[in-house]
């Protein structure tokens, strides 16, 4: 039996203002300029796994399809290699937009339970903020614990290899002035980058 789904979008499917909101974040302004050429998807090494190509994510964002964008696997597949941003003919910082979309998805909790990437991001931030440094082996263990601890058994071979070559450590790396770091981070707890005033309009292109 062929499954039939409606694919039309009505105006009520849009979350009006979402695109504007994203484009007002510093670094994301150039999205206004997107001409949908597809260069980003053409150079993206991960685009072959994406449900929406990076280009489509740009279009969906600009057209206020918030749910579709934030629930897309694309934003999580972005490996931050910056190939798209480097090649984009409109200087759109696509990687930064992906970061912005990831942040929003995390804030709104729009991702599958036990989905490892947001968990990693959260564990990473916690560890970085608490200890000041990252101990990679411990981070991986924590990640596995929070997502799929069965997988930990599948990792024995890698762990052993690292142990053998002296690259596995269970001792927390840490900075001395942890208190300083905590104070610094606490001072920006409630600052949201999108709410900051935009940079002053510069004279962008000099010409003769």
């Amino acid at each position: 039996m062929i499954e039939i789904k409606r694919t039309i979008k009505y105006e009520t499917d849009r979350v009006k203002g979402f695109g504007r909101e994203v484009m007002s974040v510093p670094g994301c302004e150039q999205l206004e300029q997107c001409i949908q050429c597809g260069t980003c998807s053409g150079v993206c090494p991960l685009s072959i796994y994406m449900d929406h190509s990076p280009r489509q994510v740009m279009a969906l964002t600009r057209s206020d399809f918030k749910r579709e964008v934030l629930s897309s696997v694309t934003i999580w597949l972005c490996a931050s290699c910056y190939a798209c941003a480097a090649e984009c003919p409109r200087h759109i910082r696509i990687t930064d937009i992906m970061y912005e979309l990831k942040q929003r998805a995390i804030q709104e909790g729009v991702y599958p339970r036990r989905f490892p990437i947001p968990v990693l991001a959260r564990e990473f931030t916690r560890m970085a903020q608490h200890w000041g440094r990252i101990t990679e082996s411990l981070l991986v263990l924590r990640l596995l614990w929070r997502t799929n601890w069965l997988e930990a058994f599948g990792m024995w071979r890698l762990g052993l290899g690292l142990w053998r070559t002296g690259r596995f450590s269970l001792r927390h790396e840490s900075i001395r002035q942890r208190a300083d770091l905590t104070r610094m981070m606490a001072s920006v707890d409630d600052v949201v980058i999108g709410a900051l005033p935009p940079p002053a309009a510069n004279h962008r292109r000099g010409a003769r």
Binding site: A201, H203, R204, A207
Partner: protein
């Protein structure tokens, strides 16, 4: 205005007199218009054929008449329609800047920008940027100051002697030279 209520006094914003050469900067300002670029309404343009026509007296007169800043726009060096009028202006401008500094005026009040006919965007930037630079400096208000000086002179002329039992005459407040 449709409303009969008197409009609330607008907050102070700088008044800028701009001298633009007809070939480059005035044309660039036209281009800004044709491109519908939006910029601050504080600058009023006087067209001259060449920035070389801008006499320092014009600048001083504009300030004396109540301008808070003067913007001069000319062709880029090497691009003058009249070979090198803009170079001549540049020399004069540097002297003028020294004079203004000696008079106690902020250098930012008089500004020179090279803007080619293609740089409508730069006109917008220059005017907006100048307005932003002048705002923190506040009004220059030379006409008002001049009146104050006049009144002060008149008062001193009427009461030439200080009160005999007043405090000893200290250093009198310096009277800045009117421009």
């Amino acid at each position: 205005m449709d409303s009969h209520a008197p409009p609330a006094p607008a907050p102070w914003t700088p008044r800028i007199v701009a001298f633009f050469c007809t070939w480059c900067t005035y044309t660039a300002a036209d281009l800004a218009g044709v491109s519908r670029l939006k910029y601050a309404p504080n600058a009023r343009v006087i067209r001259v054929m060449c920035s070389g026509r801008v006499d320092p007296q014009f600048v001083l007169e504009a300030l004396a008449q109540g301008a808070d800043g003067v913007l001069i726009g000319g062709c880029h060096p090497g691009d003058c329609h009249y070979v090198e009028g803009n170079h001549k202006l540049l020399r004069r401008f540097q002297l003028l800047q020294r004079l203004l500094t000696d008079l106690g005026l902020e250098r930012e009040r008089v500004r020179l920008e090279w803007i080619s006919a293609a740089e409508g965007d730069k006109v917008r930037w220059a005017i907006n940027d100048m307005v932003e630079t002048l705002k923190p400096l506040g009004p220059l208000n030379l006409p008002g100051q001049q009146q104050a000086w006049d009144r002060e002179l008149a008062r001193r002329a009427e009461n030439p002697e200080p009160a005999p039992d007043g405090p000893p005459p200290g250093p009198t407040a310096p009277i800045p030279s009117p421009l």
